[in-house]
Symmetry: C2
Subunit: 252 residues, 2 copies
């Protein structure tokens, strides 16, 4: 068979793994998928994700690609890999893409959700699935802050250090909180995200919701570009990578 | 302190326990709560639930009561017990009730939800939280069947045997499916439920959704009173006890 590039859409429970990226002495999503590809094809291949997710972060729709000489039909890879993967990871979709498709570099849009459980008692059912905040949050103020993120801004103040990044400017398309009883869900969509960006944005908006900071202080943070002035990094276990979009990424 | 009766509203992740009721050599919710009461009060007391839930069944709002001579203020029991309970169980609310309140016999209404994930790929995030059904279900037919359950009927055909029951008649107030993308959620509310009743009702409606049985076959099942004619028992891990209601149950 000629070499073919396969695109995967992947769901995982972040609480089961030490994040996406392969590392020594730790169980990661990338490693598990590479191991499953080896099991079903006998090929040792690199599985490249759209980006890393930290330990604890969940995904409904992480995207990755890999190359294979296997004669397994592209759409059948999902079933085949699922039978070889641990229960914490599932391939939702597999399809052939053109050889110039790249899960990371071809991505044009990413969407995340951040879930907060806002009530007094902790929740066994949402334990590793949402950030539990006991004090009542003002969601109207949080939505006012959320709207201020929309557009093209410098997100230096919303990026953890320690990574080689040349540009801190990102374009945010959607940024809003929805409420379902005691569940607050933040949806954010943009052309790209810096390291810990959604978690720092969320932590900053939570401080707005606690009346510790004004909703329009976001504009000051864009200007000052100082991580020390923005809010805390919200915990990993409330974050979900929901979708990664591409332009004309598939042959189908 | 005089003896006081305390009512608890309890959430638990059913996948962590062998059901509600105490049994030998198995970890149960009732046992864990009695142990926690002992830890914080030094009293060995019986915690009586509104009813059993089987292994795997979850609860957002199980209700139980117990009697105590402790001087812990009734509303403070929730925090105190939560610090002594494993992460799979949380007390959402605690309050004093009159001595004739009984979690089981005073209950006037119960509400359950049953969650189905209807898509091809399994879901790591919903793994022990929903019944995964791959084949596309016809939710309109399922809702037609669901409406047929509403009212006062004989549910003999929807009850697992092996329990001493004198009356099989129950009154169902709410019975409907809602759809959120690939998630189907059944909500059912009634004056009481027989053993495995919601799970057999769900299994029967799923057979309707698979076009294996007609929506109006429900009426025949009421008449024939034969468990062998109804559908399969849906798996425990999709079922949630959502709420138990009482009339004038609290002093507050």
């Amino acid at each position: 068979m000629p070499l073919r590039r396969i695109k995967l859409v992947i769901e995982y429970d972040g609480s089961c793994f030490h994040g996406w990226q392969i590392q020594n002495n730790a169980n990661t999503v990338q490693e598990e998928i590479e191991r499953a590809v080896y099991k079903i094809t006998g090929e040792q291949t690199r599985v490249t994700g759209s980006g890393r997710t930290d330990a604890g972060v969940h995904a409904y729709g992480q995207v990755a690609h890999f190359d294979t000489n296997s004669n397994i039909p592209p759409v059948k890879f999902s079933d085949a890999l699922n039978s070889a993967l641990p229960s914490g990871i599932a391939i939702i979709l597999s399809e052939e893409v053109s050889e110039d498709f790249h899960a990371r570099f071809s991505a044009t849009k990413k969407t995340y959700k951040y879930k907060i459980l806002n009530r007094k008692a902790r929740s066994p059912i949402m334990e590793k699935r949402a950030w539990h905040i006991k004090g009542m949050l003002n969601v109207d103020s949080m939505n006012e802050a959320a709207r201020n993120f929309i557009g093209y801004h410098d997100f230096t103040a919303f990026c953890s250090s320690g990574h080689n990044i040349t540009s801190f400017e990102r374009n945010i398309y959607i940024s809003q909180w929805t409420v379902d009883n005691e569940h607050l869900v933040y949806t954010v969509s943009g052309d790209g995200f810096l390291y810990n960006m959604v978690r720092i944005m969320t932590g900053t908006m939570v401080e707005v919701g606690m009346n510790k900071r004004a909703a329009d202080s976001i504009f000051e943070l864009f200007e000052k570009k100082d991580r020390n002035l923005s809010g805390i990094t919200a915990p990993a276990h409330g974050l979900y990578l929901v979708e990664v979009n591409y332009e004309q990424d598939t042959r189908n």
